[in-house]
């Protein structure tokens, strides 16, 4: 079920601006990979190329290859809609659909893609909400609007919504940056739990968080403002945080730079 990702020669542009340049890396199935690095280094951009969300922005384009279990996401004839069904995403700010109830938010991906069977939807809704550690809190008010939940609950609702379509990979773009420490802890526990069934990639500004939840850490940086971001090194998380190969990584992790 879980999937490996191989990225080679990846360069992403916003119009004429080159945001990241010539990125190569591989991600193992059923692992948690953290992207860290200073603001503007392109880690979110790289994340968004992994489910073809980068090109949603006007004039944004990608060169290079992203292989999902050997299949190129940017190959000819690949439908981005199908890619996004296989690679789900959770955003920085919780963004439940304001016109939908909690229940409808969770099954939105299924319903909007044509699943009508009530029994299947009910089953998936409960399963996903349990998976996101939210079921106990909302099971008595599934008909209430999703926007009425607290920030942390909304973010877990968005995770439930993302896993309800049963993706192979889950991308998370700073999922805890708008949350308080307790909600952050809940999300981190959830990531550890989800690891058993999904390949997870998380962008974070919080290095303790990267150290706590990830198996592998990738450090991105940019040399000067305006230069494209690049991948400095990627290794087992313990190694990155205890004995990194590159000097830049050590400087960033110890807070002497960035």
């Amino acid at each position: 079920m879980a999937t490996r990702i191989d990225v080679s020669g990846l360069t992403a542009y916003y119009g004429k601006f080159r945001a990241v340049s010539d990125i190569h890396f591989s991600i193992e199935p059923k692992s948690v990979t953290a992207f860290i690095g200073p603001s503007g280094c392109g880690k979110s951009t790289v994340l968004r190329t992994l489910n073809r969300m980068h090109e949603v922005l006007p004039a944004a384009r990608v060169e290079g290859r992203v292989l999902l279990d050997g299949e190129d996401l940017y190959g000819p004839g690949v439908d981005p809609v199908n890619v996004r069904r296989a690679v789900g995403m959770v955003f920085q700010r919780p963004n439940p659909f304001p016109t939908m109830s909690i229940y409808d938010n969770v099954v939105a991906g299924l319903k909007l893609n044509g699943t009508r069977k009530k029994s299947l939807l009910d089953e998936r809704a409960e399963e996903s909400l349990r998976g996101a550690n939210l079921w106990e809190e909302v099971k008595d008010r599934l008909g209430r609007p999703g926007a009425g939940l607290s920030g942390g609950q909304q973010q877990r609702l968005c995770i439930a919504r993302a896993i309800a379509v049963e993706p192979q990979v889950l991308l998370m773009d700073e999922p805890c940056s708008a949350l308080d420490p307790i909600s952050t802890l809940a999300i981190e526990d959830l990531i550890t739990k989800l690891k058993s069934s999904y390949t997870i990639v998380i962008v974070t500004h919080n290095m303790q968080q990267a150290a706590r939840v990830s198996d592998t850490t990738a450090f991105f940086t940019l040399d000067r403002t305006g230069d494209p971001g690049r991948l400095v090194e990627m290794d087992r998380t313990e190694k990155i945080f205890s004995n990194p190969t590159e000097k830049r990584t050590e400087e960033y992790i110890t807070g002497r730079f960035g």
Binding site: F91, N95, T99, A108
Partner: protein, 352 residues
């Protein structure tokens, strides 16, 4: 607390956190003084206008308040008070015509509106007869508005969706420009266009449908503009969230973007309906008008409330003018009811 602040203000070289304020009672006194001064002015000078009385008293009040405030409170607070007073005056000036129109329509129309008036046409009513009603015009207006909305709303929504979700570059700028041009189109031109194009060139008879076509032209730019603004307000986050679930662009628009923008779109549609419900000129040229009931908007002339008001108010008999006031009140109430109904529907569609 209060003693400590008082002590602070009194302390020499203190922070002066408490400024001097005019007592509340001063303002009615200034107002009374302004009115009294105006009365004196009216006695001394040969002025009689009541509107001028209000304006002079208002100006004197503003001057008196500013002088008193500068003397006691300083220029910053005086400016604040002056602008506040001006804002209230502007508000009153804006509301007066609105209330006056409503009041005169209600007072002159209410006595004429009854069940008989609403359920009878003008068929076989002589020029001096007191009877007759607006049933035929009410039917005509409702059918024409419904047809115009049916044509204009889906079309305009699609245009707005194109402009916001798909349109890039020159085509979308051109469409945008022509929508703006259409917004400023005088309504009689829309009527003339349908007269020239649909009735004369295509050799159709004047019908309720021809009127609805003219109203459609007037509705489209209003609905496009308001729907466009509402769609732009939908946060991009929601579109991205939907894309990330593997939902196609079109389904995202229909199931996520449109429902989010729905309340605003409904308001825009209602504004457009309210606008065209009162249009007389385009109907004058397209529906021909009749005194009889005609349920079929596709065949034969129809009447409409604005046209009815126009023709009745133009007659010399008081009974006809009374009928015009009655029809005017009905038209206002009709638009209000439609508005309330649309808002109710939009509210019921929301999750709670």
């Amino acid at each position: 607390m209060s003693t400590s602040t008082a002590a602070m203000a009194a302390a020499p070289g203190g922070l002066h956190l408490v400024g001097r304020r005019l007592p509340r009672a001063v303002f009615p006194a200034i107002g009374a003084g302004a009115v009294a001064a105006t009365v004196v002015l009216y006695v001394l000078a040969p002025i009689t206008s009541r509107i001028q009385f209000v304006l002079i008293a208002g100006a004197l009040y503003l001057i008196g308040q500013t002088v008193a405030s500068i003397a006691v409170e300083g220029s910053r607070r005086a400016t604040d008070r002056g602008v506040t007073t001006l804002v209230y005056l502007a508000f009153l000036l804006a509301v007066i015509p609105l209330v006056a129109v409503l009041a005169s329509v209600i007072s002159k129309g209410a006595q004429r509106v009854d069940v008989n008036f609403l359920t009878h046409s003008m068929r076989n009513i002589g020029a001096r007869d007191a009877g007759g009603g607006i049933y035929h015009a009410l039917i005509g207006t409702l059918e024409q508005i419904a047809l115009a909305s049916l044509l204009a709303v889906p079309f305009s929504l699609l245009v707005a969706i194109y402009l916001v979700e798909y349109g890039r570059g020159r085509i979308s700028r051109t469409i945008s420009f022509f929508v703006d041009v259409l917004t400023g189109l005088p309504s009689v031109i829309a009527g003339l266009f349908i007269l020239a194009f649909y009735i004369l060139a295509l050799e159709q008879k004047p019908t309720g449908f021809a009127g609805a076509l003219a109203l459609t032209i007037l509705m489209i730019p209003v609905v496009v503009r308001s729907a466009e603004e509402m769609l732009k307000l939908v946060p991009n986050d929601l579109r991205e969230a939907s894309y990330a679930l593997g939902v196609s662009r079109w389904r995202t628009i229909v199931k996520v973007v449109l429902p989010t923008a729905l309340p605003g779109i409904v308001t825009g549609v209602m504004l457009a309906v309210a606008r065209v419900a009162g249009e007389t000129a385009p109907l004058l040229l397209t529906i021909f008008g009749t005194d009889s009931i005609n349920f079929n908007p596709f065949s034969g002339p129809q009447s409409a409330l604005p046209l009815y008001i126009y023709s009745q108010a133009g007659q010399p008999q008081q009974v006809a003018i009374d009928r015009a006031w009655g029809a005017a009140l009905t038209l206002i109430v009709l638009v209000m009811l439609l508005n309330a109904a649309a808002r109710l529907i939009a509210r019921l569609a929301r999750v709670r």
